[in-house]
Symmetry: C2
Subunit: 165 residues, 2 copies
DNA sequence: CGACTGGCTTGCATTTAGCAAGTCTAGCCG
DNA sequence: CGGCTAGACTTGCTAAATGCAAGCCAGTCG
């Protein structure tokens, strides 16, 4: 495992990087925060190999970042990977990466850039901060992302699986 | 290269993760932000293999996150790797990781946890936020980290290499 | 009953990472 | 002046991790 040896070092940054810094993990969590839950959907969206996706999902479940929830799809048992609270709380990391990436890296070909929208007031705002439009704290349930290279429609962030579910 | 294929995808998170999410990179940047500049020092602090360190430093220089500055040490030419502005700006990512790691991961053996101190008022504060003690914005030059498993002394964050240097 | 789909596991081939040892430059020591 | 040492790397080789392709199994559709 790539960065896993670091998972129990004394530095919290080292531990977080040891788990989240493995290849694909941050991308999986990004998509999970945007509502992806199924194995196939992750595979299709990320272009990740099956065995690695399987491995990563297992590790994230083990780490308590995702939960595996069986559900029924027309009578058939299927699995869903839902965010836990810990998974939902990687959001600040994603925000920080989004800001840094927007500022310091360039896409291969110019595309409209990602935007975070405060659904309550409808304004575009800086990721991870108080709303630029209305000055209020942007709550997770009120936050949506626009990723114009995929679709012009905003995507509201997924809510974590509640303890009872 | 581990995550490098992602460096020019349209999503800024993907691009940032493609560069910063490579193994060791976040740890190198963490230490660089704490003042490490020399090859040997990174090697000793991280326990990273020479060839990989060499490779990562080269990639970070290429990405504009670090600059290689030759300097004189008693008449001998040495290299120093200094943060650029882009390198200094990964700080929010480190803050987010520190908070998440502190909250959702456990060290192998209990140690005093990492603390961020606002030097101006001397208070411990939450990483990446307005000072919990005095309510003012914590500027980078006023921020110090205490990492008690290494030393009880606070370490003031390194300032990036100025354009002229 | 055969095909199909979602969610995986298995088997290699290819990349990376990790370790050890070697190189090169340049002071410093006696 | 010859040998020694230190910093900053390369080079070679082994051990993991990644990627691709194929296979499997349960259930549902036609």
């Amino acid at each position: 495992m790539t960065t896993a040896p670091q998972v129990s070092v004394p530095c919290p940054i080292g531990r977080a990087a040891g788990l989240l810094g493995e290849r694909w993990t941050l991308l999986i969590l990004r998509n999970a925060n945007l509502g992806t839950t199924r194995f196939d959907a992750f595979r299709a969206e990320l272009g990740i190999a099956d065995n690695i996706l399987s491995n990563r999902l297992a590790r994230l479940v083990e780490a308590g970042v995702l939960v595996r929830v069986p559900y029924h799809d027309g009578g058939r048992a299927r699995q869903e990977y839902r965010l836990t609270t810990a998974g939902a709380e990687v959001l600040p990391v994603l925000h920080a990466l989004a800001v840094w990436g927007e500022e310091h890296t360039k896409p291969a070909e110019p595309t409209g850039s990602m935007q975070v929208i405060h659904q309550r007031c409808g304004q575009v705002t800086t990721p991870g901060k108080v709303c630029d439009g209305c000055g209020e704290l942007v709550r997770r349930e009120e936050e949506a992302w626009v990723r114009p290279w995929l679709s012009p429609d905003p995507i509201i962030l997924a809510s974590p699986a509640t303890a009872g579910t």
